[in-house]
Symmetry: C2
Subunit: 220 residues, 2 copies
Amino acid sequence: MPDHEPKRAGRPRGSSRAMLEEASAELFLEQTYAGTTILQITRRAGVSRATFFNYFTAKSDLLWVDVDAGLARFPAALEQCAAACGPVEAVNAVERALLQVSAAFGPGQVPWALTQYELMGTTGELEASALSRFMAQVTLVTRFVGARTGTPAAGDGTDAGTEADRELASRAFAMAVLAAAAAAAGVWARAGVTRGALAPFVGAAIAPVCAGYRALHTVG
Amino acid sequence: MPDHEPKRAGRPRGSSRAMLEEASAELFLEQTYAGTTILQITRRAGVSRATFFNYFTAKSDLLWVDVDAGLARFPAALEQCAAACGPVEAVNAVERALLQVSAAFGPGQVPWALTQYELMGTTGELEASALSRFMAQVTLVTRFVGARTGTPAAGDGTDAGTEADRELASRAFAMAVLAAAAAAAGVWARAGVTRGALAPFVGAAIAPVCAGYRALHTVG
DNA sequence: AGCAATTATTGGACTCAGTCCACAAACGGA
DNA sequence: TCCGTTTGTGGACTGAGTCCAATAATTGCT
């Protein structure tokens, strides 16, 4: 973190963000997510309703603060093994990066998104916010894998077929692994007090998917 | 269809549903999905705004009329091979059922959900509705596969580990295959005029996932 | 100190989706 | 014709998210 405090001009931010997160956590426990309005959150945090949207783009952002923090490390974990050139190494890199990210979640803090999901089925907002985050990671993985698959040297027609075929394979793999990881998170959250770390769940869930795509690229 | 017209009492339905679908299709072309309000749709259809919610639970339902129609066949296609007992056969059944369902979509009619998704990134409503439909199919596949995996006869400790492990595997597989199928649908929709049938896309996308899970259950 | 530029905060008005409810309209059956 | 049932309608209401103009707090410059 080089430029931690570039000393920008203008009115400094208050402690609004932290207070909003804290207030929302309390209220979600007392009333659920759906039963809490933005107005209640801002009132308890001691700020205006308009201020809420200076810090969060939507009410549902509050469900994902923990997840977003963990997910922020995903791009770095992915590029960490950027030297890998082949598609198989790319799959391995994705697998390791996902395990690395999920290692940040222990039995203690389960993100709001997961607990509230079980609590009230389909809220709409929750599902919308979930999918938008999911798709963000999908484009990340798709680009990472896509850049390392196909076009090995020049048009030597090795394996991956046409450009469209390779795009489909990359995207399908991205969505499949991430979906498996999401499934693991869901099962882990439901596991109750007996749940340990998240990583083993994710590892077991994504292993078959990764194996399937590795096989696809090795046999050609 | 046995009881197509049980001749119920009460005021008969008008042609509201068809008119609403038609009106929305026109307006989505003229002004996109996000730029169209429910009020506009109902006005063009010649009905009241309240009537809209007699036929659709949300505005986003209109994006999925084609998809929902196709998806309605999925449970039947799945149970069609209910005799299969092992997990490998279950994976095969899911693969075939998905191909069967996607066979209903040709190059002509692409569902609104797919075209509008590319058109305007994240609408929120669209993503919420997408995920809720996705999860509905996930529970379907999870149950189907889960019922055919593990507990082969009695506790002979063959392969699948504990009950929790098997639940995780079933759910992860369900989400992974369906995510791959969704990826295929997205790529297919983006393919433009040159796209042919949907089924080949889906087949290519889900094959590696199915292969991975088959291997998981064969080698034990 | 005074002043300009910059950024945070605020209140309020606004649009729209979705819910709810009471009432009118159209039907079948007794 | 009266009754129960179901669809259609108008209107009021909540709450999320947007927009904007005004104000407060701070930095940098003169």
